[in-house]
Amino acid sequence: MMDKKDERMFVFKTSVRFFRNVKDVPFVSRFSPDDAEDINRNVKSVCDGEWGEDKYDTLNINKAEKCDILYWCDENCCNVRTGGTEYERMAFTNSAKGTSIVTNESEHILVQSIKDGCDIDSAYKNACETMNALSRRIPFAASEKYGFLTAVPFCAGTAMKAGALVHLPALAMTNGLGKLTERLAGEGANLKPFFGERDVSFGAFYQITNIFTLGITEDETVNYIKTAVDMAIEAEDECRSELVSTKEREIYNIVWRSLGVLAVARRLDLKEFMTHVSNIRMGAELGIIDIDADFADELFLYGQNGYVDRYSVRFSLENEIADDVRARIMRENVAPVLRKMI
């Protein structure tokens, strides 16, 4: 059995999400701006009571700058629409707990709790605390047959998605993901690229989530994901050992090259950036280079579109193209580290 620190090498984040709609209020595609405001008011008062008035941040998604919304999304591993809508959409974020509530996205209410590394129990516990506080005040739409009712019918029932964001570079390099995908399906879990398109991942980050939300309990869901994550870790670990023992020189070369590119490149698009940051994270995990996974994870956040846009605004670099700004941010962070190592 691996300890927590080792799991951290494979699991980037774990999350638990609950989707809820308010009873007797039409879903988001059919409700009125007044309904939306009511929901926001109720959620806000729950936040005030439960978290304390000054203990959380409020983001008005409908009015905020696009780069601030994207940055919030990157930090919270979550997607929200950036365009304006006729109704108000909010994000209430309690960073200390890693819990946030998003209103009027595809469902009236999304509660999400995220933890670094592999800690689904804490994510589940934190999400439940907030869910319980909300349900004491807000009646939710539910039926006997379909459980909690969601506008997107794919998650009716528990209306719960538990997941882990895992880093599987060795399996990705060796075409080992198809087999893992099949095995996870047998455990009721889905494996899909977290960044990228279709089955092509930028940087070998994959999301594991539960397939089933009906005929299953919340506890079972958590256990399914735990089993699935263990399976993925085991497969990746085996694959990495194999790679290091058979292709040591190649792997060292890939890792050091990527570090070099991040330290000196003048232009980096998101896809190329993700590939290099993935390689150096793997290098850190395998002990090839002496940096810790946290540093790699920081770089990872700094290279996302939201952070890059924000950086451009802050340092008045708006006339530089984003890929150049991304390269600039990487040089600032990586070059000093590299200088110490060579």
């Binding site: 039926s143 009712l149 997107v152 198809g178 092509v200 089933f212 005929g215």
Partner: protein
């Protein structure tokens, strides 16, 4: 033969499928093959995605032909959501939509229902029943995979095994 994926262009690429040694083929057009980058050395995940998407495409083509008219007319009396709009956005309009469009969302609901589900709210899982349920779940997924790759011989075996286990479970329940 038309492309099994888009159904719009003639199929001129043959993709060999090999899932755990079970071989079959799919025929798609150049454009679809290019888009998915599966002409040379496709990944296992790409193959699996292709098989799933072709199945989904078949399903939606069949549906769109047979019940197009009846479905298009359907409307939820509570919120005014039409089936047409739902089919476009996959978003329901209100709680009552679940009843208004019940037969149409049935395949969706089935795909998210844990196979061999024992009603989660009303029954506490009993410890000795758990291995059974997991086994049935696994068998059902294997069955699904067999059907997907048109391996009906093995599918029949799994189907019989599931029936056997489920019958056994019901007996046990009646006894208790």
């Amino acid at each position: 033969m038309m492309c099994q994926l888009c159904g719009k262009r003639p199929a001129n690429v043959c993709i060999n499928i090999d899932i755990n040694g079970n071989k079959s083929q799919r025929f798609i057009c150049d454009k679809c093959a290019d888009e998915r980058k599966i002409k040379e050395n496709p990944s296992g995940a790409a193959i699996l995605a292709l098989v799933n998407d072709i199945r989904a495409a078949n399903l939606s083509r069949q549906q769109s032909e047979s019940d197009k008219n009846e479905q298009a007319e359907r409307i939820c009396k509570s919120c005014g959501m039409t089936y047409k709009e739902f089919a476009k956005t996959f978003m329901l309009g209100c709680e009552d939509c679940y009843e208004s469009f019940e037969d149409m969302i049935k395949p969706l609901v089935e795909s998210i229902t844990k196979p061999s589900a024992v009603s989660a709210q009303s029954e506490k899982p009993q410890n000795d029943a758990v291995p059974d349920r997991n086994q049935i779940l696994k068998l059902k997924l294997l069955l699904k995979q067999c059907v997907e790759r048109e391996d009906y011989e093995n599918a029949a075996k799994f189907r019989d095994k599931i029936a056997e286990l489920e019958a056994g479970k019901h007996e046990a329940k009646n006894d208790g």
